[in-house]
Symmetry: C3
Subunit: 214 residues, 3 copies
């Protein structure tokens, strides 16, 4: 049994973060919310999402796993106007998901969860830096980096207390530095370093995360 009402904005944003990586995924229906864990086919990106029951207007389930076509589900949810509510109800017998929004009813055939790529094990990561940054800052850096390279290095310089982005192309380079005052300070999320001295792609003595872009 799975029956819920949720704002289309909330559901859409959650699905967005998964659909950038995979086309279909398993959704675990748990008593305290939905969880989705998926890894892209190239094993580069992973999403580990939890949408707590509290994020729903109403939420009832007795557990289970469903497999969904994310593109299709996103398209349907995307038809709702901002602020509208989406009703989801699982028909156990036919294995279809009934989705209704403002009078429109959509019956979505589910995918056998066993046919979907296995969920990744969550790797144990010893993450030595943590920053909170404006989305537009990182978007701007990635757009600029994309002009010169398909690799990008993100890092934290503990001495200068700076977060930086680096991209090196064949002829051109992009560099962005954000000091403590440009970052969003959050309780418990100070800019910090935990003592690693690795060197990656010529970015020495800093904690850097390597991302591979398109």
């Amino acid at each position: 049994m799975f029956k819920t009402i949720v704002s289309a904005d909330t559901l859409g944003a959650a699905l967005d973060s998964v659909s950038v990586l995979v086309d279909e995924c398993k959704i675990r229906l748990e008593e305290d919310g939905l969880t989705i864990r998926a890894v892209d086919p190239a094993n580069v990106g992973m999403v580990d999402l939890e949408l707590a029951a509290a994020a729903f207007e109403s939420y009832e389930t007795d557990g289970g796993v469903i497999g969904v076509n994310l593109d299709r589900l996103e398209d349907i949810v995307g038809m709702a106007d901002s602020g509208q509510l989406v009703h989801l109800e699982l028909d156990e017998e036919t294995r279809k998901l009934h989705i209704s929004l403002d009078g429109l009813e959509y019956t979505l055939a589910l995918i056998d969860p066993d046919s979907i790529r296995q969920e990744p094990d969550l790797p144990e990561l010893d993450l030595s830096a943590e920053i909170v940054i404006e989305g537009r800052d990182i978007a701007r850096a990635v757009t600029a980096a994309d002009m010169v390279s398909d690799h990008i290095a993100l890092g934290v310089d503990p001495d200068d207390e700076e977060f930086y982005v680096d991209a090196e192309g064949d002829t051109d380079d992009v560099h962005l530095e954000l000091g403590r005052e440009d970052l969003i300070s959050e309780q418990g999320h100070p800019l910090r370093r935990r003592g690693k001295d690795r060197t990656r792609r010529g970015v020495p003595r800093q904690d850097a995360l390597q991302l591979r872009g398109r």
Copy 2:
């Protein structure tokens, strides 16, 4: 003789409804207004348009038929700003239409009406239901239906006094129901039924119109 002044918005909206079906059409110049009747090449859709003389700022003609390239005419009229007036004048001798808007003069070569696809006879339709609906409601239903199928069934359920839209795909279905309170009530346009009991595509005991989408 044909000489008229008309708001670009009015003329543009009228042409729009024709150009979704055909690229060129005959325009009948009658004393009480323009009429256009056209059917698409696949004989599926028909438009029967009358733009009354009262819709024009000024309207003079002594009759006749002209053939026009709708794309071209729409492009020209589309160059007008909202609220601007378009002057049309037929040059009988050269068979060209002089179009002027805000200083810009366009000379449009007309098409020999005999070379244009014959106008359809108006079929005698015994339409047993009539509803008036918000454009956005039908647009939303068609968008959703388009996700699952290239057919759509529109119908009226006389018992529940509902208008419905149905689309059945291979795996997914779309259904929309609009009760009397969701429809626009207009004088003389009550939601009504005239006693047909046809069954079409599994939509029994209701009056349904079959549309074929792209």
Copy 3:
């Protein structure tokens, strides 16, 4: 040495006018500003641009010539928000241009000026008419003309004191006339004629400029 701060809007607009013609160009760094002169590969259009030092927030140079990839430079400058400042600094040794805007640093490799198409000699033009016109008027005329032809004639009729645009297609024609009251009157820029009686493309007894469009 070349070091300057300039509004992204100013720099972007200047580059725009050059990049419609060429992909790369030489920028002459002169004491009183930047100058760019370029001709498109088909030798049809020429741009002769001067961006005076006064247009910059700060401007320092001891002269020189740099060759730039305009697309790349435009993309970078286009990343600035409206009103933001762009810092440009030439690294003489590496022949790279350091561009920074709001924390983002971009290192642009310059092109050897000798490898760039030679700058055109400024032809001696005896221009017999001069008008100042609203950009939207000329844009509208060109859009309409583009529907019927890939040539356009611009001219001034001294007797009627009119500026006109003419385009003749195989079947359709476009004509626009703007009287003195539709033109922007500027000091020292009266609508005038200097006594030429050339005939071009059927536009007799007027001073006309021929442009070749796409």
